[in-house]
Subunit: 291 residues, 2 copies
Amino acid sequence: MPATTNLPSMISDYRCFSCFANAFVKLVEKQGLNLDEKNAFIRKMAVLYSQYNGDFSAPVFSGELHTLLKQYTKNPDIYKEAKKQCNDTALQLYPGLKKIVLESANPFETALRLAIAGNIMDFGASPDFDIQATIDHVLKSDFAINHSARLKQSLLKAKTVLYLGDNAGEIVFDKLLIETLMHPGLVYAVRGVPVINDATLEDAHYVGIDTVADVISNGHYAPSTILEYCSPEFLAVYQKADVIISKGQGNLEGLFGKNTGKETFFLLMVKCAVVADALKVKKGGFVVVAG
Amino acid sequence: MPATTNLPSMISDYRCFSCFANAFVKLVEKQGLNLDEKNAFIRKMAVLYSQYNGDFSAPVFSGELHTLLKQYTKNPDIYKEAKKQCNDTALQLYPGLKKIVLESANPFETALRLAIAGNIMDFGASPDFDIQATIDHVLKSDFAINHSARLKQSLLKAKTVLYLGDNAGEIVFDKLLIETLMHPGLVYAVRGVPVINDATLEDAHYVGIDTVADVISNGHYAPSTILEYCSPEFLAVYQKADVIISKGQGNLEGLFGKNTGKETFFLLMVKCAVVADALKVKKGGFVVVAG
């Protein structure tokens, strides 16, 4: 039976658009396009946005824009180097974090907190983040919403757990949580193709998450989990899963309030006012919310 | 004969769009619209932008958006109170500034500098400005481009001068410069209707600029001077003028590089990267440029 909350089902709104406009104006500046191409890209962005009519979805739009950017730049993975840096940074932190978890009075809670700290490594929100400061902060902060006790109970009963990954780098923190959970039926899902610095199968293998969980692709190009676009392979696992662990804003925006019938726990750092308003928390807050 | 520069004729580009998106997302938030109206407004903004095809003009777009906002808010002048505050602030500063000019070794240059300082009072760029800090700064700064000696010479020869005003508040600084110029054939032009905090006939009368110059409206709703849309009355004065003094980014964007055949001096504070790049100066720079 899914946990329930009194939260709105729609998250994306008009405010997302200025965020996209800022992000993509900055992005196209860095890609070696000429002025005509930059002008044309941003105009095309407006065309795509104008085609939504009451059905605007930030992660769908993001997927469309990044697909368009790949066409303009002729580069299928502009974040390739950034993802490697995120993974390497997190892998360097991993031994110290593992020690913190093992020496913790409550390894589950500590690993859960660290997994949420890892969610700061999100180029879709901002390429400027301080992972160490976020780790320090997450370990001593009150969570804005904390349904972690319910998550722990649900995991004890679940035969199959589907863990929806988010970003490169962050997946190292996810690996640490998965090692701590020691759940025998856990499947870890990544994006179908490179989009922003979201983790793909390549990243999962690079950080060795395949040594602690079965790893699958969701088969889609959006920086999210949008069920109607995911692959049959992914959907088969999704349907079988007793509990869904959903990392990050992108997955939240795709799944939250969609009446999926699945008990889903959203683990994230709240990075924008739109998601903050939807969850009725402050921007910057750490959240474990059953939805 | 117009003064010449080696500067580009097009100023607006794709970067303007994120600036508009930010400004109008913030604006619609403050207008008491419901969520559907806010979503619809921002979608309509994208529709309008998408209709430009290589002919994007920031001031034309701005005029369209502010006209649209008036329709949504049913308020023809959302900046009415802000304009009064700008005018009152500047009128309070006026006696002290007049004293500075009168006691200055070079009243023309001092009044010119102060007129450019007044250009900071621009809600189109930012509603958060520090006029006193800008005054202090402008009086002791090197100008990024300084064609003021040429301006002074041209004014001596000109029978008719058309001074294109920009913002409420700023027009008090313009009044001080006009009093200092003491040119017998000076006409001061304002916007045709309220748009942002740009000065209208009402503002001109409020600060008494009609006591030192003939005041006319340009007859159009854009926060700029776009000759193809200006009124016959305005164009008659424009055609007769020997020298044009153009205040601010909006007028620059409308007139710069347009081969008008008129000797035009653009006086402004550079408030964005797009105009900075076009003028090959840094953002924040003070400019008197013949174009």
